[in-house]
Symmetry: C2
Subunit: 285 residues, 2 copies
């Protein structure tokens, strides 16, 4: 099954299951255990392993369900089994997680390894009085930002680069990523959107890149600075890693169905060529 | 001063100050006390006295500030005193309240008595799997609603009527209100919006009216039913008062500046003619 889901990350220590901690994966697998009447929690595999406090609108995961379990699911009419599953999950999950769509995944689909790209949004109110208390996914910043300068500053980061300067280091893991697009715009007069898509992200990369762009937006650094930090290739303490609450995983992109298996194979091979680090394609943010 | 503000009502027992309870008015007046260095909390007067759990985007209140206090406010440059006040309130208020704009109110302005109309929105996800966990202002409903039928059902409620059938009774208070518009539409494929504007509302009126419309939307009652309930003029136990979390005060409308004082006078006179009940124009929801 492929599950498309969203969550408010504020009350989770992140996606990944951890003992005695409230995690999205833990809550989802508990609901699936109840729903599928499984003896043990079914294991989910996720496209973007979000960090504590990070939100998601377009998260994708998959879970293997035995055909006989599927066939034995009660209460399926008049909806399809997948529609019924989604409807019943809505009743089992806490209100801060919602599975929007369930589909029988096409052959070869792997939520993590088949993905072509992840898209994240970092949102910032740059006038504190403008913040909408009903929104939970926007950082409040006390100074006005020059979004045009931020947008120019982001351009050199697009393409395949070693993003070591913007990543928390993990021994042996590659920090080479391909940023497919990076744009800074205003969603409203007082809400700045940093929209970034990449094949994958290394740990804390979006929050560090956005931190560098915000420094430009405040006028503390020239628009050339983020590109210079990137080129230096080492973590720069002047780059502030922004808090998680403004970050949302918006979407995950997959190839056409007949290319899913090939993509998963090539991604796994690529990962195996980089010291086998498990976090390569997870986009842990 | 006129203050335009919004709040997430979830963690408040309502607008109105109460001893030992967390209220919007209490938090706001505490912040104003600090800001104005006042010996006692300055009293605020509000347009729509929202109930526990009800949200606001376009709430309006006023507060009297002595000219010498105003003149003595520190840290005003380069912004205007009003801009400075809003910026500093953002730092003093909890994140679930935000004063968006402060203005020196025109002569004769009274947030409560000068208002021409209040507009409320009641929002409902009518497919539970569609709920966005990042939104806090939408009721989740498990059954699909017929919005066209709801819209037809609301039409007879527009105009001046005795809304006793939809109000929690308060001895001696009139229940005559003028509904200026009432529309049911879809904001998105799975989000139903009930948008209602009236000169004022009596207690729980929007939530009861919406409850009657939802019963029509579910097919439990004919579209003629809400109009029949209205005409009967007594509370009907079949009308469900919906929970507060889906309700938001969206906007308050005022006349042109030169008509503010006249409007306030005529509203006060009207209230005095109805046994002097204090809740007449407050739109307590």
């Amino acid at each position: 099954m492929r599950l498309d889901l969203g969550y408010d990350g504020a009350s989770f220590v992140g996606w990944a299951r951890q003992p005695d901690q409230r995690t999205v994966q833990g809550e989802l697998e508990a609901a699936l255990t109840t729903l599928l009447r499984a003896a043990a929690p079914p294991m989910t595999t996720v496209a973007g392993r979000t960090d504590a406090g990070v939100h998601a609108r377009g998260q994708v995961c998959h879970v293997d369900v035995r055909a006989d379990t599927w066939a034995a699911l009660p209460g399926r009419t008049p909806a399809s089994p997948a529609e019924s599953l989604v409807h019943r999950l809505a009743g089992l999950l806490p209100p801060d997680i919602r599975v929007h769509v369930a589909t029988v995944a096409p052959p070869g689909f792997d939520a993590r390894f088949s993905a072509l790209a992840r898209r994240y949004a970092y949102r910032i109110y740059d006038a504190p009085a403008a913040a909408d208390p009903l929104r939970r996914d926007v950082l409040v910043h006390r100074r006005r930002l020059d979004v045009a300068a931020m947008d120019i500053a982001g351009a050199p980061l697009v393409g395949e680069h070693d993003f070591a300067a913007f990543c928390k280091p993990r021994d042996g893991a590659t920090t080479i990523r391909r940023v497919l697009s990076l744009r800074c715009t205003r969603e409203t007069d007082q809400l700045v959107l940093v929209d970034i898509e990449a094949d994958a992200f290394c740990y804390s990369m979006v929050r560090a890149v956005t931190g560098a762009l915000v420094a430009v937006g405040e006028g503390r650094h020239d628009p050339s600075w983020p590109g210079e930090v990137l080129a230096a290739g080492v973590r720069d303490p002047a780059v502030q890693v922004l808090p998680p609450g403004g970050l949302t995983l918006e979407a995950v992109r997959y190839p056409a169905d007949d290319e899913l298996a090939e993509r998963a194979t090539s991604t796994r091979r690529r990962r195996a060529g980089t010291a086998g680090q498990p976090d390569w394609q997870t986009g842990h943010q």
